[in-house]
């Protein structure tokens, strides 16, 4: 496993964004079926790309740099595309609102009114994402994940707002943010 093909990238990027996840969680996140994801992970597990601990997958430094390399080549054109860069500038504003609302929501113990504002911000992002999807079709997947998790929140499962261990709205948002930063070539320093 040296250079990644698109499918390898989608799976390993899923691991990269989730940091530590089972094959099922990755399959759900990237919108591929579990057997495909398992076969990519299986091939990578024997190399210095990936390790498995406690049933969950983690990228090793080699794997991370392969993912970054793929971003660099595949999205080179995006990095000077004015539409994408302008979209990102707008995203930063929405992102600030979202982060503020999440911390308000947390400190207000899941207040309903703050929650409805927060979900409206998520809907704003999914609406805006429609503009990017023609350029980056795999972003469609974020829209459907947001939709599913918002429905869970609406059904009263408050964990789907920001619990870190499930596909919560906050997790999806955070993964998306890291993803778009990598696309435009501004990896976040964590």
């Amino acid at each position: 496993m040296k250079d990644l093909n698109e499918q390898d990238f989608i799976v390993l990027n899923g691991v990269h964004l989730k940091k530590m996840a089972t094959a099922e969680e990755i399959a759900d996140a990237v919108g591929l079926d579990v057997s495909t994801v398992e076969s990519v992970l299986g091939a990578a597990a024997g190399t210095d790309f990936l390790m498995i601990a406690d049933g969950r997958h983690l990228l090793l430094p080699e794997g991370t740099s392969a993912v970054h390399d793929y971003y660099r080549t595949a999205y080179e054109a995006m990095r000077s595309n004015q539409v994408v860069l302008a979209w990102y500038e707008r995203f930063e504003t929405v992102n600030e609102q979202f982060i503020k609302q999440v911390s308000e929501w947390q400190s207000a113990d899941g207040d309903e009114r703050i929650q409805s504002r927060l979900i409206r911000t998520v809907e704003r992002l999914t609406k805006n994402l429609q503009e990017l999807i023609p350029l980056i079709p795999r972003y469609e997947n974020y829209v459907s994940r947001f939709g599913n998790s918002v429905a869970r929140v609406d059904h009263g499962e408050k964990d789907f707002v920001c619990k870190p261990t499930i596909d919560s709205v906050h997790n999806i948002w955070f993964e998306f943010h890291e993803d778009i930063l990598s696309v435009i070539g501004r990896p976040r320093d964590t």
Binding site: M20, G55, T93, E112, R113, A151, D154, T165, T190
Partner: protein, 831 residues
């Protein structure tokens, strides 16, 4: 009769004032208006308001999604009435009436339109307002707040983008303060809305219509539809719309805004609590730009207002049968309650308030139990630092708390060493510069994780939250020398193995091992709530302490029940597990070398003596080590090379007798009468009979831990001997399902599996009917009063609730979960 006819005639109108008695019907006028109506009737001062009932919504639907002429004229009449009551004029140039528009479905649901505030201003009236006491800043903020909300909620336009695009016009209006600049700003906003493909009007009447239509339309939003489908709510129910006059806390110096709680939301104490800002609007309170007055101070409000407040608080608590929080505004000396809801509160306050409301005769005990959640009981019962001990502890440094919880242990700088020492039974804190996937084994084993670098989204933080381990990151002050196995803080050097304590919420690291205690039972209110729970459940919840210290602590804290403690845990806590494992291996083959049995006896005696002494005469039962257990398999290196016969419960009498003698020697030393020993893994009453003889010879009472289904066949017969018997619920469910222990230890994996509909339910959360049948004979014996309990250390409380429902009344759980389990058992509804 005459009156009846009159009433029917009046019933025809879509729009009602909230003081109308009919409006209390939430099904026709929505929850919000119904709440306002009840408050108005109870004499609570509210700003005037009217409501468009769900009949209006149906009319809107029938009319093809448009407000018809009749509804429109009713709305205008109602606005006229608001004008009369408030002495202001809607869309008027001076003294304008501003209103809020809110959705009000009979059941509140997500996806419905939120509130639009400050509707009613025009460029002309905003400009006039700028010359008033609030000043131009207030006028522009109020007006633009309306446009932001209107754009966002009614038109679906990004409000920050809208404001960004009219920034120049806005600053011109702020600087020039001319009517022309206000008009220009209004024109820019309308143009911008148009270029985003929407239409809006500068006329408040038209804006009100649009807002009402938006509420009605939001009934059919995708999210609201999905919600109704999920909850089986009819799509034809419809929604009401509440329109209420806005009042202003910045009208003059006799005005202000605040938030009040009828009881302290932190500790539940019954006293007015909250904040009041003189001459300001509610938003200023939220933004924190002005320092409010503390309502608990007697001088915070003038005597008249305070008196009114106290009277209304009392009324509202009776109305809600609960503590409430209140948003209020004083406009020119007149007090208005804007919103009242059951108050948010901390876990500790929830418990105190529920208990007090029972004492005040407001609610019944059963209702009090229903007011509290298991989560809240768990929160106050979570092991936390002993406050007295914490006060003495020296703060070493503070980083970023990134996964909550308290922990203490020996600092270990390497993941593998941390894992090894944790396996040996030591409490360990893993300290690393940063963590990487290679450290995962150590992170799993450690009680807490600290890193010198990294932020809230670093590997250590993310993984710790996933593992539910306390974690602190970004402790810049810690300098780690991995080669020398030392770390230094502020010039002082520490060595690997030194004890520290950490608080994963505050990020504080302390020197030494601060004592941990289960906090919950210390709260008097919780104690009483749990007594009520016990009365209802008629259950007795024992504890399974992990060490003699834990046992002694809970004895001192007054836990009255018995304890079930594992001999292996005691040996681990005593630091002798390494030697004990070697001796166990040596004891396996037939005719083990002499001296082995004697040394086993001595280790067991040393490990058990403190527990027996600390039990102070309370019932204490020992789980005997079982060579075939999953833990033994992990602890013993060449486990598979042991002789197969050794894996049977009575496979080595030498080994069994040595352990029994060790316990009996310890009991004798501690002068503890009637200690019982529980044998695991047996499947027949003949095995038990033999074990019973052996135990009696050692002067101990025999009992058993039932871990397999086969033994359930004989369980009634075994209990008839009067022996104490426990059924290990986790083992029974796991073996029936054929799952390995690893799956049981990560229940969320099975939750996920069940979510994917691959199995009906997680069998550790919902008792499978098959298992319930297997347990029915035992459950009946337990109901008849047999000495038969459920060992529930490895299953979640909801499974114990189900086992209680089929008849079990005795349970044993870890110390830290006892309160929560008692609460959960008492909270369930009896048939």
């Amino acid at each position: 009769m005459q009156l009846r006819v009159m009433a029917n005639v009046m019933d025809d109108s879509f729009v009602r004032e909230v003081t109308d008695r009919d409006v209390e019907d939430a099904l026709r006028f929505g929850g919000k208006a119904s709440g306002l109506a009840k408050m108005a009737r109870a004499g609570i001062p509210i700003p005037p308001a009217f409501v468009i009932g769900v009949d209006g919504f149906h009319q809107f639907r029938t009319n093809g999604g448009k407000i018809d002429q009749r509804l429109l004229s009713e709305i205008h009449d109602a606005i006229r009435a608001l004008e009369n009551q408030s002495g202001r004029s809607f869309a008027g140039r001076v003294h304008p009436l501003l209103v809020s528009v809110r959705s009000g479905a009979p059941v509140s649901m997500p996806g419905m339109m939120d509130t639009v505030l400050n509707l009613g201003l025009t460029s002309a009236s905003a400009f006039a307002l700028a010359g008033g006491p609030g000043g131009s800043g207030f006028a522009l903020d109020t007006w633009l707040r309306f446009w932001r909300m209107f754009a966002d909620i009614v038109l679906g336009i990004d409000p920050s983008e809208l404001m960004q695009s009219v920034k120049d016009a806005e600053s011109m209006a702020r600087n020039d303060l001319t009517l022309a600049s206000f008009e220009n700003l209004e024109r820019c906003i309308l143009d911008q809305i148009e270029s985003a493909g929407e239409t809006a009007s500068a006329d408040p009447c038209r804006q009100l219509e649009q807002a009402v239509e938006a509420v009605f339309r939001s009934w059919d939003s995708a999210r609201a539809k999905a919600y109704r489908k999920h909850h089986g709510i009819s799509d034809d129910l419809g929604t009401a719309v509440t329109v209420q006059a806005m009042v202003f806390g910045n009208a003059d110096e006799n005005s202000g805004s605040g938030v009040a709680f009828t009881r302290n939301p932190n500790d539940g104490n019954k006293a007015l609590y909250g904040e009041y800002l003189i001459g300001r609007q509610g938003e200023d309170l939220v933004s924190g730009t002005h320092t409010p007055i503390d309502l608990s101070e007697a001088s915070a409000l003038d005597a008249g207002l305070r008196q009114a407040f106290e009277r209304h608080s009392e009324t509202l608590e009776r109305l809600y049968a609960d503590a409430v929080d209140i948003e209020f505004t004083v406009e020119s000396g007149q007090l208005y309650f804007l919103q009242v809801r059951p108050a948010k509160r901390t876990a500790a306050a929830a418990i105190r308030i529920a208990e007090d409301l029972v004492a005040e005769g407001v609610i019944e005990r059963q209702a009090a139990l229903a007011r509290i959640t298991s989560e809240q009981v768990r929160k106050v019962s979570r092991p936390s630092f002993d406050e007295a001990d914490l006060a003495k502890a020296a703060l070493l440094t503070q980083g970023l708390g990134s996964s909550p919880g308290h922990a203490h242990g020996a600092v270990i700088l390497d993941a593998d060493r941390a894992a090894d020492r944790a396996l040996a039974g030591e409490a360990v804190i893993l300290l690393r510069p940063t963590t990487s996937p290679q450290d995962i084994r150590g992170m799993l084993a450690a009680g807490g994780i600290i890193t010198a670098r990294g932020g809230a989204l670093s590997h250590a933080a993310v993984v710790s939250r996933a593992l539910d381990r306390p974690c602190i990151v970004g402790c810049d002050a810690i300098d780690i020398d991995l080669k020398r196995k030392t770390f230094s803080i502020a010039g002082r050097t520490y060595h690997e193995g030194d004890q520290v304590s950490m608080d994963g919420s505050t990020g504080k690291v302390f020197a030494g091992a601060v004592k941990l205690k289960a906090a919950g039972a210390g709260l008097p209110a919780l104690r009483r709530i749990l007594e009520w729970a016990d009365e209802r459940s008629e259950a007795s919840v024992w504890i399974s302490p992990k060490s003699s210290d834990e046992l002694i602590e809970s004895t001192e804290a007054g836990v009255p029940s018995g304890s079930v403690v594992s001999v292996t845990d005691l040996i681990i806590a005593n630091g002798r597990i390494g030697r004990f494992v070697e001796l166990t291996v040596a004891a396996g083959p037939p005719n083990p070398p002499r001296g082995i049995a004697e040394e086993i006896r001595a280790i067991v005696c040393e490990a058990c003596a403190p527990a027996l002494a600390g039990a102070s005469g309370r019932v204490l039962q020992f789980r005997l080590p079982r060579v075939s257990s999953d833990r033994a398999r992990r602890l013993i290196e060449n486990w598979q090379e042991l002789p197969p016969g050794f894996f049977l419960p009575l496979g080595s009498m030498t080994y069994l007798r040595a352990i029994l003698l060790g316990i009996s020697a310890a009991a004798e030393r501690a002068r503890h009468e009637g200690a019982a020993v529980l044998i695991g893994g047996i499947s027949a009453c003949s095995e038990f009979a033999t074990f019973q003889r052996e135990a009696e010879q050692a002067g101990l009472r025999a009992g058993a831990m039932i871990q397999n289904v086969m033994a359930l066949d004989d369980i009634v017969q075994i209990t008839e001997t009067g022996a104490p018997i426990w059924v290990d619920a986790g083992d029974i469910v796991r073996t029936v399902c054929g799952l390995p222990i690893e799956v049981q230890q990560s229940l969320d994996v099975l939750d996920q599996y069940a979510n994917e509909k691959l199995i009906r339910a997680n069998p550790f959360r919902r008792l499978p009917p098959y298992v319930a049948n297997l347990l029915s004979a035992a459950a009946m014996a337990a109901e008849r009063g047999a000495s038969l309990g459920i060992e529930g250390s490895t299953v979640p409380p909801e499974l114990l609730v189900e086992l209680h429902r089929i008849g079990f009344r005795r349970f044993s759980v870890p110390v830290g979960r006892r309160d929560e389990v008692r609460f959960s058992l008492g909270r369930l509804q009896k048939e």
